[in-house]
Amino acid sequence: MTAIEAIKLAGQAIIEEKDFLTDLDQAIGDGDHGINMARGFSSVFTKIDALKDDADISMVLKTVGMGLISSVGGASGPLYGTAFLRASAACKDKNAIDAVTAKEMLDAAIKGIQDRGKAVKGEKTMLDALIPASEAIGTGIDAGKNVVECLKDAVEAAQTGVEYTKTIIATKGRASYLAERSIGHQDPGATSSTTMLKALYEYVK
């Protein structure tokens, strides 16, 4: 198992969902989420292919973050870019990720997204998937679960979070212009976050 393989699978999952994410974003946003994220990960793939074989997890995640920031174009660039950079800083010098480190990395990523986007839970954003995912990992750690079991719970919590975004009004980003007309649509960012978590779980399980 390597960080590069994990990132490639997460990116591949996003690229495969490009049209779906774009459809979701066309309903309540500017309709570029799938296209932007797919372009971002294509650029990231080129950058991580250029990394040396001994690049550690932190270095790989940093490369992903910088790659997304420089190529995505939409709001998801600075948001996911910052998330990956913060996750990178949270696993510096680590060669393996246990459940506690995984939670620290996810929490650092969430904090990064909040610093950048000034959003909180319940505003129909990627945080509505990621915060429950982090909470599920915390509950798993308390119950003595290993990192794979924790990730499974995180994916389920994130999926529930995506469903929840259908029931609430967007107050952040382009979707906020639609106000109550955003109800009934699931959030594209929460969806792409869940897609990446799920790909990561499928890889490590």
Binding site: S70, G74, G77, P78, T82, R174
Partner: protein
């Protein structure tokens, strides 16, 4: 002279605003970061960083931005540039068209960065009734 950077999701918007503003203040250091690197709609923190570095003459830079990710990309660009320069770069709390023109005119009079930012913010109150 305070430099001005115009950040828009659209290269055409950014260039158009620059053109309008320079009508009133020929040769002022105004740089744009419009659209993505490949000519699409969006914002690019790296291009914003470059524009800020070009606009700075030592007296600071006022940045005008349009929607959502433009603001986030400016924040990110500020984190990426040298802290010494970053400390004199501020995003104006202003509408991008009126604010940019107000900022460029004010800056061309040799005003301080604070004054330029204030004038840009005041452009919000322009009455169109």
């Amino acid at each position: 002279m305070v430099g001005v950077v115009i950040v828009s999701h659209s290269a055409k918007i950014a260039e158009g605003i620059k053109e309008l503003a320079l009508q009133m203040a020929k040769d002022h250091p105004v740089f744009t970061a419009g659209g993505t690197q490949d000519g699409g709609i969006g914002t690019d923190p790296m291009r914003i960083q470059e524009a800020i570095e070009n606009a700075d003459q030592g007296d600071g830079v006022a940045v005008l931005a349009d929607l959502g990710s433009a603001v986030m990309s400016v924040d990110l660009a500020k984190e990426m540039i040298e802290p010494e320069l970053s400390a004199r770069v501020f995003l104006a709390n202003a509408p991008i068209v009126e604010g940019s023109i107000a900022a460029v005119v004010e800056a061309s009079l040799g005003s301080s960065l604070d004054k330029v930012l204030q004038t840009a913010a005041d452009a919000k109150n322009m009455n169109k009734e």
